[in-house]
Symmetry: C2
Amino acid sequence: MEVITRIDTMREKLISSRQVGQKIGLVPTMGFLHDGHLSLIRKAAQENDIVVVSVFVNPTQFGPQEDYEEYPRNVERDALLAEEAGATFIFHPSVEEMYPENYETYVEVTDLTKVLCGRSRPGHFRGVTTVVTKLFNIIQPDRAYFGQKDAQQTIVIQKMVRDLNQNVKICVCPIVREKDGIAMSSRNTYLTNEERMQAAVLHKSLEMAQKMIDEGERDAKTITKAIEKQICTMEKAYIDYVALVSLHNLQPLTVLSGDILIALAVKFGATRLIDNVIITV
Amino acid sequence: MEVITRIDTMREKLISSRQVGQKIGLVPTMGFLHDGHLSLIRKAAQENDIVVVSVFVNPTQFGPQEDYEEYPRNVERDALLAEEAGATFIFHPSVEEMYPENYETYVEVTDLTKVLCGRSRPGHFRGVTTVVTKLFNIIQPDRAYFGQKDAQQTIVIQKMVRDLNQNVKICVCPIVREKDGIAMSSRNTYLTNEERMQAAVLHKSLEMAQKMIDEGERDAKTITKAIEKQICTMEKAYIDYVALVSLHNLQPLTVLSGDILIALAVKFGATRLIDNVIITV
């Protein structure tokens, strides 16, 4: 498997495959691959002839106070894991290759990005939609794979693809969890042992919410309160948001009905973790 | 020649051409075609196997006080003229087809759009880059043709293509002028006879500037002043801007050197006209 760092080289590598009608799958990542990423790569390998895994810690999606510098990186390890999972190429450009001097063009989904993580991280989704558009234009994939863990991201990207008429099918794959239920994330490496143990409360609180709904609860406030109460039992936890929203427009619900997204963002020490579940009532 | 109104139909029409390696040229227009547009279509027909002329009065590039409603439209006449010039398809979608309910995704070039027409028409270029990106994604052209009359537009679009890694070559074609030198524009139809006669001053003042530079003048202020003075002799003329800027970054020049854009925007009555010349010193 080849690690490609230049945009022109990446394009050239794919020309002949595309000409003979081979299908190309793209798995955009920021690297430091875990089983969540690998499940996307495996799925892409099942469904396509060529799988490109991009590994790029994208500076435009980090806020000035966020963890761009500290974000864990290990492209050699990523290359081995990606190959094993079925990747054909790793695309690993430099920041200068993706954002040359005087770079100034951005893609923005304006409304779906005003809430949840978009509200806590201004500019984050503009960075995501910009880099994903660039990757779509460079790779021209038939399918692109994203993890359900980043629920709002998948919804924003699907909206962008529809609005801009981008020629790609978006495939969303289930959250992969550790044994204790915590959603896999490259940022889990930041956690101390104590924070790591307490972070399991995220998934537990979502399970509790699911159970409340299964038992007939339909009042959003009651469920929100119960989730917040459970998270607050962990002394290292600082809630950013607990949201019960419509899956389609991310607007808050009062009475639950239809397709619901329950999404959480909680800080454990300096580490902000997210988790979510989709429930159809 | 076919007039196609649906995005899906347009895509389907081009699949087989693309598969056999035919080259596709796109000429994006707002319709009401004149010889300027036809020169683009003829050029596209020379250089490509398939020529798509889009005819779409794009609402997102008009300000709330601008002429979106009044903008002249005649797609039947456009179809005849375009076919004669060598077009294969007219793509003429409705506003609802291009901007369905809850549309919310925009492409923006942030710095080059702060000056000249971008300053006078806030949001204009965001509308242009968004609709052009949509057209690129729908048509997937090998080449796209734009007129030099909209000088800033060509520079903004070339920047967008480079920044977002869009897969298309941008071809810029010379300004086509009436006998008296006025640049062809669908908006010329708005002018009264008197305004029409006075508007010839735009081209004349650019010729004068060219002559001053040929004779050795290098001071931007002196040339700007001379242009403004000449335009002001016309009583119907209201200057929006007279700009001597670097062709590459559109920043104002004090002393002329390198590739220079002299760009004018002047209102005659309610009609805003633009014109420009590129000079290499």
